[in-house]
């Protein structure tokens, strides 16, 4: 049976605190979903502990993603988010690990779940957060020679500057201006 959100928060918090006194930064229950904000240096050990604990047994990795808080102005700028599910108890938890912009990396969890491979590569591609120890950390969706990380908030919505060549020659013709300005459409426009 799945644990109640409050009980789950309590049990998981205790498991995280057992790893290190400063490992747990915050615990949130919102709309029945449990989120733990944790110190990124402990990430592998925390996930290992959550997986091993028989009362929690988070046996499957659902998702890895990241959030950019540039517009909100939060420091550190990024959060790497891990979503876990327990096949035994059917409950879920979310872990958020803040990562600063000037020291943009976190430990990989590929040794724990092989499925983290693609997911971490996607976060690296889209946000430029490096995963230490990842076996094959390359871009996955964007071309290998792409510059910039599209899901960062300071990446222009119209795309990065592109360039083109003159017709029939290989001569470089310059860069067009960014045609589409970065906009946020208002609800009244739709």
């Amino acid at each position: 049976m799945p644990l109640e959100p409050a009980t789950l928060l309590e049990t998981a918090s205790a498991a995280v605190k057992a790893i290190g006194a400063d490992a747990l930064l915050d615990g949130i229950v919102f709309r029945g979903e449990v989120t733990l904000v944790i110190e990124r240096d402990y990430i592998v050990r925390i996930i290992e502990a959550l997986r091993r604990d028989p009362a929690l047994s988070f046996s499957m990795l659902v998702d890895i993603t990241a959030i950019d808080y540039l517009e909100v102005g939060r420091e550190p700028r990024f959060d790497v988010v891990y979503a876990l599910v327990s096949l035994e108890h059917r409950h879920r938890i979310r872990l958020r690990a803040p990562v600063p912009e000037n020291d943009c990396h976190i430990q990989t969890i590929v040794p724990l779940w092989r499925g983290a491979d693609f997911l971490e590569r996607e976060v690296f591609d889209m946000f430029g957060i490096a995963f230490d120890g990842h076996p094959d950390l390359r871009r996955i969706i964007m071309p290998d020679n792409w510059e910039g990380h599209p899901l960062r908030k300071d990446f222009p919505l119209g795309g990065a500057t592109s360039f083109y060549y003159k017709q029939d020659t290989d001569e470089y013709a310059g860069e067009p201006a960014d045609l589409v300005p970065r906009i946020r459409v208002q609800d009244s426009d739709v």
């Binding site: 919102f30 988010v81 979310r94 092989r114 983290a116």
Partner: protein, 382 residues
Amino acid sequence: MQEIFPTTPPRDTLKTEEMLINMGPQHPSTHGVLRLVVRTDGEMVREAWPHIGYLHRCFEKIAETLPYRAVVPYTDRMDYLASMNNNLAFCLAVEKLGGIEVPERAAYLRVIFAELNRIASHLVAFGTYGLDLGAFTPFLYAFREREMILSICEKISGQRMLYHYPRIGGVARDITPEIAGDIRAFLVQMRKAWPEYNDLLSNNQIFIKRTADVGVITASQAIAWGLTGPCLRGSGVKLDMRKAKPYSLYDKFDFEIPVGEGLKGTTGDCWDRYWVRMLEMMESCKIVEQALNGLPEGETMGKVAKVLRLPAGEVYVPCENPRGELGYYIISDGQTQALRVKARGPSFCNLSITREIVRGVLVADVVAIIGAFDIVLGEVDR
């Protein structure tokens, strides 16, 4: 004869070398624009690297700049074979974040059309899988029944494939007696056609030889790689979001979750994944019938604010797409647009195991393995 075909090939004179070949992006068996770089040794695959991203539209970036209502049509384009399920997943996440109530009639209609769309999607999977393996006829049979679903969906939403029917707070239109009659007629036809499919393909000896014991994924492998949907259940793990954490109204209906049992070979082979889809179609028929019989009277659209400003917070609603767990992780900072929308697509995770299981198989089996995943590249690349 002995001179022409020597029993032992002259190893020292025969030049063999490994070849690096491209499968795709335009290969017919890759179901879209998936490119596989395959290192082959004769007919044997030594290593394969999937290359994705050809259909990338950066849905997540677009979703950050649009109001929530305007994001819903974009979700259609992610998994274009199961648009209803995609719309539903996004609407459920927004409704959970905003605490929006959905009228019961709308929730029933959502279930009916999500399940019809699941059948349509599995029919494409069934038809094209046969096509991949050289059986053309089942494809035509599958598209005959799928056409009935598409015309039902066209009648209710005005679109054949990209429906935008579930809306935030309800559904776009109410069902008419004519459409209800069409759905009942479809259920009768589907139950009649299903045994034909099995005669044509499921129990076809050639098909079984091509798929049984091919591309075996053990349960622990499936869990380690984060597989969901028929790919996970084909390996014998009973996990379906409709039962594990019932969303919408799925706790009200009586249906089974089929899992792979290794009927024709090993548990977790391509035939098992295929067979789970076939059984799921019949279970979906059961759900549609129950929902149609229990359809209550009432409104089809709840009360939703004109300018949708959601409270700050984060939600994720796992839903069962035909391909596996689909969910939208929405983070709001209290604005009219989301701070971040992450789509957890099942095909993306299901595809990641390719590299592991195509190692050491025959080149022809790569087609069977990729086909059995039933990936939709629109959702892999997002």
